[in-house]
Subunit: 197 residues, 2 copies
Amino acid sequence: MKTNYPLDQEVDHHEASSSRDITTPTKQLVITRVISSLDLIMRIIGVIGTLASAITMGTTSETLPFTVQSNLFRAQYDDLPTFTFFVIANSVVCGYLVLLSLPISIFHVIKSEAKISRIILLIFDTVMFGLLTAGASAAAAIVYLAHKGNASANWSAICQQFYSFCELISGSLIGSFVTAIMLMLIIITSAIAISRP
Amino acid sequence: MKTNYPLDQEVDHHEASSSRDITTPTKQLVITRVISSLDLIMRIIGVIGTLASAITMGTTSETLPFTVQSNLFRAQYDDLPTFTFFVIANSVVCGYLVLLSLPISIFHVIKSEAKISRIILLIFDTVMFGLLTAGASAAAAIVYLAHKGNASANWSAICQQFYSFCELISGSLIGSFVTAIMLMLIIITSAIAISRP
């Protein structure tokens, strides 16, 4: 069997020198690295979005300088449980993105062939996408109600009184929805990266 | 080089006859088929959930038999834009699950090694998961408000008057949230199926 060795090596060499086998893994690696870098950029945008949303919603308050007929003189996010949930959801997603996902995402840029860590990250991303979408949509429903009111349910549009508070909380939804879209794209690109051999 | 051929074949034969190479693809196939079947079952649960939610929310109405101080005598889903969005979101997701995802899911059970169709389905699943979560959460925020009211914003709890209407719309949220959880599990199992060689 000793005589097989040189031939065996020759077969290996022959296989390795075929053009398909040399270029494809390099090309694959470049594509996977591009996907990993995009993933990292989208996560950084997500961090900024959720942080901006949580801070805007959490710090905004408006006190009316005069007494009105309504029993509402000072508007703040914790007046409405939905806005509290919005702040919590954004904080949790922001914390996850910074503490867990960014380090693993940087690891993926360096080590492109990692697969199990990508699946674990995809599971967390999906859960966080659900949490953030839930928080943002619930807040959007209440903000819409605050702007328009509802005649059928006899709910008045409080934005007529708290104009600047309403402007700020409406703006805070943007960061949250941008991050939700980023997380959706992250899930899709992760799936493509996982599918690569 | 002609003498290499028998040796080359011998090497191939040796590789093919190793136990790892014979059993692993069959085992892989069984696991992928189990995942595909689970995927199909979860989609069927999803269809039932969204259909039940859309029908419950869409058909519920309550007319009060007496005149009350409030200007609200008849409650129906289209009184609140959020509930209309909820019905639309559930209908769209239900339509997608039945018309597009079920046929492809059945195809995946038969042809387990399909990958590109799995990625395409995962992209749609992610978008539908976002849509359904948004619809369900927005409706939940309004249902919560209808039950509890909000003293700060001077919004009254309309469920005190429309008790049976509120019970039914609260129940209709369940199907929607169950489907959202199913879609989350579908995305995760799809990613695992995609990762399989």
